[in-house]
């Protein structure tokens, strides 16, 4: 029994290796078609690669997903692969890439091709590996272009990266990046990001809505006290009627009535 199981395991590994080899061959075959000079001819190859990626990412077979991820990552980072093919490959990694793809995607994100850089940023944003966050953060540290910073801040906000708060908060000081910075900080919703948002409330209109978002997230996580503190302060201080209404709604749903403003209290005495 043990011997036959061992043989089966060996056979299974061979099968997996065989399948990976076939996939490699398929990807190699598709690459020139993905970069066909006549753009309209690329579509069948794009769909074939998309189907390959979807199939590999089916639940219950992580080895298959990882194997194809490695194959695609290698091609994505290979400068000898034509650019249109690399773009489509990175777009598949956005949908199914894992830890095995982070290094390659990071290389692409730090490269010279603007379209590929953007595709790689999106792919890292969706990548479940913690290393993807590290890459995105490192890219934001180096970034100088406002539009590029906005994309990176958003990616880090969507990943709720607490270690990026200081970096993102610097974006509050630039009118071009402030709205995106506020949005990202609202998504991170830790105490440091909330503090940064309070400091920007009077300069960045989006900071108020970001605070509402942060408070909602805190309440959803069970930190009702922190949520109520934000709602109450906004209800008392926000200049926008809309924001005050949102804060009061938050207070009501957090299980407390709004504490009356000081002037109302005086009139009741």
């Amino acid at each position: 029994m043990k011997r036959s199981l061992a043989i089966s395991a060996l056979g299974g590994m061979t099968l997996a290796a065989h399948a990976a080899g076939e996939e490699q061959a398929t990807v190699n075959d598709l690459i020139p078609k993905l970069a066909d000079e006549k753009v309209e001819n690329r579509y069948p190859a794009q769909m074939a690669l998309q189907d390959l990626a979807s199939n590999a990412s089916k639940p219950g077979n992580p080895a298959a997903r990882e194997a194809l991820g490695k194959t695609l990552a290698a091609k994505a980072a290979d400068p000898s692969v034509p650019q249109p093919a690399r773009v489509w490959i990175v777009r598949q990694l956005e949908n199914m890439g894992g830890a095995e793809a982070v290094e390659a995607l990071t290389k692409v994100m730090n490269g010279d091709d603007a379209e590929l850089r953007e595709c790689a940023r999106r792919a890292l944003e969706k990548n479940p590996a913690p290393a993807a966050t590290v890459s995105l953060r490192a890219a934001l540290e180096k970034a100088s272009d406002a539009t590029w910073k906005i994309g990176l801040m958003n990616s880090l906000g969507r990943r709720a990266d607490g270690q990026s708060v200081k970096l993102i908060a610097m974006g509050l000081g630039d009118a071009k990046t402030a709205p995106a910075a506020a949005l990202a900080l609202g998504n991170i919703a830790d105490s440091a990001s909330v503090e940064a948002l309070w400091s920007a409330l009077n300069k960045t209109p989006e900071a108020g809505d970001a605070l509402i978002n942060a408070a909602n997230q805190l309440r959803a996580k069970g930190d009702t006290a922190a949520a109520k503190a934000i709602y109450q302060r906004l209800a008392d201080q926000a200049k926008s009627k809309s924001l005050r209404a949102a804060a009061e709604f938050g207070l009501t749903n957090a299980g407390s009535a709004k504490a009356p403003a000081k002037s109302e209290s005086k009139s009741r005495r």
């Binding site: 006549k38 753009v39 089916k58 595709c119 999106r122 995106a180 949102a246």
Partner: protein, 448 residues
């Protein structure tokens, strides 16, 4: 009085007061140029229109003719469409005035500027799907009420954000699923919801098909068209006129980047009616099976009680939706009461009680299931803007219907079935499919 408080006075009350005032005072011989219809411009709902393409046409015309509305702004990324819309609004109001030319319609390239105006109460949004959520959310955060075309969203996460924002910011949002305001569909829902055909087990609906989304060669961007802004947060592709074309038979609707193809385009209509009929407006199906998967002939989604919806299964007599229950059937399509047929036929003529708009108006002895009555979708929204009652297709309903469109689309793209938890709003057991709950956004068009 706050601007919105004016709208809490019923039209009847307003008209009564106006008539009484008229009896006591002599009418002026010259009607001031700022007053026409029943409402002076300052009493009307000030509306901005965003996205002046194919779908906006009928909304725009209705609002221009409405005495409850003052169209004060239009917005589009296409200069030609924008200028035409502005000219249409101005000539419309000029014809309606005794003297002078109305110059009250501003034209914006960027919706952010339109939404920043404090004097605008509400907005119509009829852009391609990928812009629905960002503009709607920003509008609501700026204190505007919203009428947004269907499907409400591009992604499931967007829908949750939109619904929560509408609630939190106290805004009236109507999704343009106008079939809910058509009598034929409403009658079908009344029949189903009142149990007259028994438990519904199978539903057929016809959505049609789009051509596949092709890879397109680059063309020069037309003068005056801001293609970058049109793309917004979606991935960059070289410009091609077919990519951006508003066309009921294809155009941008073919592309996954901007919508859920036919599942979004017509699914948002018919899946929505099905949700309504099955009383699932705050929930949804639990399983999605794409066409072709292990021989599946029709794309199917399945509710927890076993009811199945089959897309593009032939529907009897070319109706749009066919509900099959244990005790009968009901067919429906667009139109009046004749657009609903039942088996047995007499079911359709059941007395469902008075067609009252609110539950509180329904007589207390009415024993059936009351179905919200709206006979005109935009009017329903305007009424709700004034009264602050919930419209017939609010954000949560639109979100749940759009979710079905998106999940069917995701299953179609991945070519495998999905299981969905409508309570947690999660795809079950398929993390890669779960990535499709939302999409990364292209800078600088990041708003949510």
């Amino acid at each position: 009085m706050r601007r919105k408080d004016r709208f809490l006075i019923s039209r009847r009350g307003f008209l009564k007061g106006a008539a009484a005032a008229g009896a006591a005072a002599a009418f002026p011989t010259i009607v001031p140029s700022s007053v026409f219809g029943q409402n002076a411009p300052s009493n009307r709902i000030a509306v901005g229109h965003i996205g002046m393409g194919l779908m906006m046409g009928s909304h725009f015309n209705k609002m221009l003719r409405s005495d409850d509305v003052q169209v004060v702004a239009v917005c589009d990324v296409d200069r030609g469409k924008l200028e035409k819309a502005k000219a249409t609004a101005e000539s419309n109001y000029a014809k309606r005035k005794d003297v002078g030319t109305y110059k009250g319609c501003a034209a914006y390239h960027e919706f952010e500027e339109l939404l920043a105006r404090d004097d605008i109460d509400a907005v119509f949004i009829a852009t391609p799907d990928h812009w629905h959520a960002p503009i709607s959310v920003m509008a609501m955060r700026h204190g505007k009420d919203v009428y947004v075309q269907k499907p409400m969203t591009l992604t499931i996460r967007e829908g949750r954000i939109m619904s929560d924002t509408a609630k939190q910011y106290g805004r009236i949002l109507q999704v343009g699923s106008q079939q809910r305001s058509e009598r034929g569909f409403r009658r079908a829902v009344q029949v189903v919801r009142n149990g007259l055909i028994g438990k519904v087990h199978t539903i057929y609906t016809s959505l049609g098909e789009f051509p596949p989304p092709q890879t397109l060669p680059e063309e020069p961007i037309p003068e005056g068209f801001d293609y970058d802004r049109w793309l917004g947060s979606t991935p960059w592709y070289p410009y091609n006129s077919m990519r951006v074309k508003g066309d009921y038979g294809g155009g941008w609707r073919c592309f996954w980047d901007y919508g859920a193809r036919k599942n979004g385009d017509w699914g948002a209509h018919h899946f929505d009616i099905i949700q309504w009929a099955l009383n699932m407006d705050h929930s949804g199906p639990v399983e999605f099976i794409p066409k072709g998967y292990e021989g599946t002939e029709c794309q199917t989604h399945i509710y927890a009680d076993g009811a199945k919806v089959l897309r593009n299964h032939p529907v009897k007599k070319n109706f749009m939706i066919q509900f099959i229950g244990e005790k009968g059937e009901v067919l429906c399509r667009r139109g009046g009461l004749e657009a609903c047929e039942t088996t047995p036929p007499e079911l359709k003529n059941t007395d469902f009680g008075p067609e009252k708009e609110t539950l509180s108006d329904v007589p207390p002895d009415f024993k059936g299931v009351w179905i919200y009555v709206s006979n005109q979708h935009e009017e329903n929204w305007l009424d709700c803007v004034k009264t602050r009652k919930a419209p017939i297709c609010p954000a949560e309903v639109g979100h749940r219907s759009a979710t079905i469109c998106h999940l069917n689309g995701i299953a179609e793209r991945l070519k495998r079935p999905l299981k969905w938890d409508p309570v947690k709003e999660e795809i079950v057991g398929d993390p890669e499919a779960g990535r499709w709950m939302d999409r990364p956004r292209r800078a600088p068009y990041i708003y949510i």
